[in-house]
Symmetry: C2
Subunit: 294 residues, 2 copies
């Protein structure tokens, strides 16, 4: 199986899980379920759930029900995109090549659809039949903290909003990105590790892997915003510069940023060494994160 | 101890728990913690956590740490108020006698503060040291479902938005209110029951109590919106009529609504009968809900 086939197979598992957990469009109130599904099934790459599944499978090759736990990460990621795109935040009209949620459903429904996806993510994580309760609690705790205001996703979003127009600053840059995208990516890997019953040592190694790919992911995202067109990205390109955001290329320059991403990749691969061949897909995903074109 | 003393004592316990769980205003990023605390400590009556604590104590008189679990309910209630007040939803400028969150911190920060309170509520519920994990998972599940889109708080909010301007309809009215306020009030009582290790029979009785007081609460809320001034309520009065909301007095008239509230109170008290004197405070709270003036 090559990486493309693997990703295809895993995203089908994630999509099936999402379809089971998210109420159908016909469920009352229909409009909110339509809004939730519109953004959830908009062609996302399912990176976070796939990372969780690959991490779990590096510990234990057949992890029953891991796709259910993993799909909660996609709900949280999607909620954050819906809210970030709102007029009072990033004010974006385009996401994954389609109008953003509030452009289709209006602001009120977009706010509620985001709230609903966040809430449903925790419901899913509190409903895993194949997961012992002590692991479930640890997973819930990790996911909530990584999404919160102390070094988590919301902290990153706040720093990002406050950073607009400020002079490039390496400390602020790292703080923004560790929190904004890094925390949930690391939590995705950790979720898989916890679900599969990783030892403390395994958990630490996978956490380091998660941190390195998180940073790599954001550096590459910043580079793509400069290098690619809106059409290629499926979202408005060049927005970082227009909004005077603090980005890696703005702080370090394009070539050094590219080298930093490669260094993070090397460190991520190094963290996987103890797992040998069972971390094959985690390694492949790390390479893809750094070398992707969209 | 009379009811006023009891409520004062219990709300101090809730406030102390909130203070422990919500990062201080000095924690980075400061602005989000200021925004969260602004709405959390705005003079709320702490009804939901106090219900949870009273329910737990009806089962087991000394329930260590129940105030930690209970304070998560106040976070969820407060998040829902912050988001409901936003310009694209109810567009309210006044709440508990003070400017609403977005009037002080701006829309972006109000959206994120709501998101953060919802996220923190789940973190708290996944961090209860005195609660066995299986109970913790059941509590998390109940709280998430009561806040969600299938008969939960968000469903109520959506029905409410869609109901504006529609002709008064008893089915829609009950659907809105069972979901919008009823679900979280019932969940508050259930949280206490689960935390204290209620038997199935006790859980069912307390759930019925929760449903009756939930409905009573909403009927009285609708009546107060007509009868009281903005100054007395600390929020804009008469908004229901202005926004053509579907309310109990609009559907049934004022006097029949008042009688319905009293009937719900009687049913709530009946559900408490098996608990005898240990449900004293639950009974007192039910009476207060129906006879309050704000």
């Amino acid at each position: 199986m090559d990486l493309a086939d693997y990703l295809q197979h895993q995203s089908e598992r994630v999509n099936a899980a999402l379809n089971r957990w998210v109420p159908p469009e016909s469920a009352e109130p229909e409009i909110i379920h339509r809004a939730m599904r519109y953004s959830l099934f908009a062609g996302g790459k399912r990176l976070r759930p796939i990372l969780a599944m690959a991490a779990a499978e590096a510990i234990h090759p057949a992890c029953t029900g891991i796709e259910d736990a993993a799909c909660a990460l996609e709900m949280i990621h999607t909620y954050s995109l819906i809210h970030d795109d709102l007029p009072s935040l990033d004010n974006d009209d385009l996401r994954r090549g389609r109008p953003t949620n509030h452009k289709v459903f209006g602001e009120a429904m977009a706010i509620l659809a985001g709230d609903a996806l966040l809430t449903l993510a925790f419901e899913v994580l509190a409903s895993l039949p194949h997961c012992p309760e002590d692991r479930g609690i640890r997973i819930l705790n990790e996911v909530a903290r990584s999404s919160g205001t102390i070094g988590g996703m919301i902290a990153g979003q706040v720093h990002d909003l406050q950073g607009e127009g400020k002079s490039p600053d390496t400390t602020l840059l790292e703080k923004i990105h560790r929190a904004k995208t890094g925390a949930l990516l690391r939590a995705s890997v950790r979720l898989g590790a916890l679900y599969a019953g990783a030892s403390d040592t395994q958990y630490e190694s996978l956490s380091r892997y998660g941190e390195h790919i998180g940073l790599a992911f954001q550096i590459v995202d910043d580079l793509l915003d400069i290098e690619q067109s809106s059409e290629q990205l499926g979202k408005t390109a060049g927005k970082d510069a227009a909004q005077k955001k603090i980005t890696f290329p703005a702080v370090y320059g394009v070539d050094p940023s590219r080298r930093m991403a490669e260094a993070q990749l090397a460190a991520a691969l190094e963290s996987l060494r103890p797992f040998g061949e069972s971390a094959h897909w985690l390694a492949e995903i790390a390479r893809l994160i750094v070398r992707r074109k969209t």
